[in-house]
Amino acid sequence: MTSIPTSSLEQNTPEGAAMPADTTKPPKPKRQRFRFLANGKAATGIVILGIYILFAIIGPWVAPYDPGARSNDLIQPPSAAHWFGTTHLGQDVFSQVLVGCRTVVMVGFLAGVVASILSVLIGVTAGYLGGATDDGLSALSNVFLVIPALPLIIIITSVLESANDLLVALVIGFTSWAWNARVLRAQTLSLRRRDYVEASRATGEKTWRIILFEILPNLTAVIASGFVGTVIFAVLSEITLAFIGVTSNTTWNWGTILFWAQGQQALAQGAWWWFVPAGLAIAFLGTALSLVNFAIDEFVSPRLRSAGKTKVKTASGRTVRMRVGFTPVLEAPAHADARPVPSINPHGATPVHRKETAR
C-alpha cells in the first residue's frame, strides 16, 4: 500500500472502484415537513383546530342571527330555523356558539402565548443563568404558584372596570405561567451543562443566541405542551369566569351561553340544547389541542421523527407489534435445515420453567 500523506481519506480510493453513494448526486434532503400529519391523532387535532380557527374568524359573519337578538321563539328545541334551538329570550343558540368561538379562541391563544412567553423568559433565564438571578426568578414563580390563580383572576378582573376579552386573556396569561416556568427551569438546568451547549459556548456563541437557538429548540416539546396546557386552562378559566358571572365581558363566549343557560336552569327546563353544545364545543377544542400535543414531541425531535409505528403488517399479512424487549420476528421461522427442537428440560442450578413447546 502506498503511503500518501494527504489530508483526505477519500482521495485514496482505488481508481475504478468509485463509490456509488459518493458519485451520484446526493438526493435532495427530503425533510418530510408534513410527516406530522401522517400521525392520525395529530391530523385529527389539526383539522378540528382548523375548523375552530375558521369559525373564530368567520363565525360572526356566518352566524344566521344576531346572537343577542330576541325573538318570539322562546326556548325552542333544535329545528331547521334554529339548529341548536333558542334561549328564554328567543335568541339563537347556534349563532351564540358561532359568535362565541372568536373570543374563546382569541383569549385561549393569547393567554397561552403570554404565559408561554413569560414562562420561557423566566424559566429558561433562571435555569440558564443560575445564581442570584435564578433564586430571584424562582422565588417569583413560586409566589405566583402559591397565589391561587382563579381567585386572583376574579380579583383582578374586578379591579379593572371594563374588563374586556383582551384583558381577561392577559390576566389569565399573567397568572398562569409559573407552573411552566418551573418545568422549563428544571429542564434548562439539565440542558445547560449539556455538551452541545458548552460546545457552542466554546465556539464563541453569544449568550442570547445560546438560549434562543441551542436551548430553546430542545425545549420545544415542553414549551408546546405547556402552551397547549395553558390554552386549555385559559379557555376553561375564561369560560368558568363567564359562567360564574365574574367577567363582565359584553361579548359572547361559551361561558356566557352556559351562564345564561344555567341561570335559567336550562337542563331542569329540559332545554338541553341550550346547555350541551357550548360544553361540547369546549371539550372538542381541548381534545383537538391535546391531540396536536401528542404529535408535537415527535415533530420537534428529529430523532423521534423517524421512529416508526407500533403496529405493523408483515409481508405475509400478520400483524406484529413493535415493542421493547421482544423484537418481532417477521417471518415465521420455517427452516428446512432447522433441527427438530424438542421441549426443553430445566437445566442446572437455574431452573427454567416453560409452558409451551417451542416449534
Partner: protein, 337 residues
C-alpha cells in the same frame, strides 16, 4: 477449554431496521457458530451491525428493529436444541439470562438508577427461581460480587455511587449469576482506561475457565481481541466477511478488509511501523454496492466482486477447516451454515 461442540448456532440471520422499502438491512444473512467454552471476538467497521447482531439474536432490539429471517439454534447443556427466535414470550423470558446473558454497551445506562445493586441482582434470581429463599439469594449475590472483585458491602449502593469500572463489573457479575452458557459482551470497556480494561477482562477469562461459559465479545480494539479471544469474526456491511482463530487471523488474514483493519492499528511496542488505513468510506446501508459490499474500497477487487456476493465458506487453505472467509480471492471449499 474450547470444545468443538456448538452452543449457539446463528443461521442466515437477517435483521432490519424499519419495514418495507424503508427498511435498513443492518444484518444480512449472518451464520455463526459459538462453541462451548470459547471466546468469540466480533470486530468490524463501526456501523457494520455488530450490536445489531448481538441484540437481534436475543430479540432485544428496540423498535424499529425487526428480525426478517433466519434462526438461532441454542444447544442447552442437556436436552435438545431449540430455536430461540420461535420461543414464546414466556419461554423467551425463561431462556434469557438463564441461558444467555448480555453485558450491554454502556454500563452506565444498563443499571436502573433508582434501584440498589442488590435489588437488581436479586431480581434475576427471583425471576428465574422463585422458590429460592431470600437468604440463599442474598448469599448468591454476595458471592457474585466477590467473584468480580467488588466488596459485598457495596451491595446496598446505588449505581451512581459506583465508578464506571465497578458498574461494568456489576453487570458482568449479574450476567454470570445464573451461570448461563453464553455471555454476550458489547464493547464493555470502551470508556475505560487500559488498566481497568485489563483488570475486568482478566477476571472474565478467569471466570470462564472456572465456569465454562462461552463469550461473544464485541469491540473495536483488535489487539484486545487477538489477545483475549479464541476466534475472531470480522463484520463488514452487515455480513461476516471472515472468521478464524485469533492468532491465525492476526498473522494471516484472508479478507482484504481484515487486512486493512490489522494494518491500521498502531503498535505500542516494537519499532514504529507504517500504518496503512483503508481508503474510502463505509457503505451506505440503504444503498449497498452490488456484489461484495467492500469492493468499492478493496484494493484487490476484480471482476466478480462487483457482481456477485461472495458466500462465507471454508477456504482452500491448509487451515481451511478452522476458518472461513467470504471473498472471491479465496475460493471456497465448503460453504458455512
Amino acid at each position: 477449554m474450547t470444545t468443538s461442540e456448538p452452543v449457539l448456532e446463528i443461521r442466515n440471520l437477517n435483521v432490519d431496521y424499519g419495514l418495507g422499502p424503508q427498511a435498513v438491512h443492518a444484518v444480512r444473512d449472518v451464520s455463526l457458530t459459538l462453541h462451548r467454552g470459547e471466546v468469540l471476538g466480533l470486530a468490524g467497521e463501526s456501523g457494520s451491525g455488530k450490536s445489531t447482531l448481538a441484540y437481534g439474536m436475543t430479540r432485544l432490539l428496540a423498535p424499529p428493529g425487526a428480525i426478517s429471517g433466519g434462526s438461532v439454534i441454542y444447544h442447552p447443556a442437556d436436552g435438545e436444541p431449540y430455536d430461540v427466535l420461535s420461543l414464546s414470550d414466556n419461554d423467551l423470558r425463561g431462556f434469557r439470562w438463564a441461558e444467555t446473558a448480555i453485558v450491554f454497551q454502556g454500563a452506565m445506562n444498563s443499571l436502573n438508577p433508582v434501584h440498589k445493586i442488590s435489588t437488581q441482582l436479586n431480581d434475576v434470581l427471583q425471576a428465574h427461581d422463585p422458590k429460592m429463599s431470600a437468604h440463599a439469594r442474598n448469599a448468591r449475590c454476595r458471592e457474585m460480587l466477590k467473584l468480580v472483585g467488588i466488596s459485598p458491602d457495596r451491595m446496598e449502593a446505588y449505581p451512581h455511587q459506583l465508578s464506571g469500572g465497578m458498574r461494568q463489573r456489576v453487570m458482568i457479575g449479574m450476567a454470570l449469576i445464573l451461570q448461563p452458557q453464553v455471555v454476550i459482551m458489547d464493547e464493555p470497556t470502551t470508556a475505560l482506561d487500559v488498566v481497568m480494561q485489563r483488570q475486568i477482562l482478566g477476571q472474565l477469562i478467569e471466570l470462564r475457565e472456572r465456569l465454562g461459559f462461552s463469550v461473544i465479545f464485541i469491540t473495536h480494539d483488535l489487539s484486545l481481541l487477538v489477545e483475549f479471544s479464541d476466534r475472531i469474526a470480522i463484520m463488514y456491511g452487515g455480513r461476516i466477511v471472515e472468521e478464524a482463530p485469533a492468532t491465525a487471523l492476526y498473522k494471516d488474514s484472508l479478507h482484504p478488509y481484515s487486512e486493512g483493519l490489522l494494518g491500521s492499528f498502531p503498535a505500542l511496542r516494537g519499532p514504529r511501523r507504517e500504518l496503512a488505513g483503508i481508503p474510502g468510506s463505509p457503505p451506505d446501508l440503504k444503498a449497498m454496492p452490488t456484489g461484495c459490499s467492500f469492493h468499492p474500497r478493496c484494493p484487490k477487487a476484480f471482476d466478480p466482486c462487483a457482481e456477485t456476493i461472495p458466500a462465507l465458506g471454508h477456504p482452500d487453505t491448509p487451515d481451511g477447516g478452522t476458518r472461513s472467509v467470504a471473498c472471491w480471492l479465496h475460493p471456497v471449499r465448503e460453504p458455512v451454515g
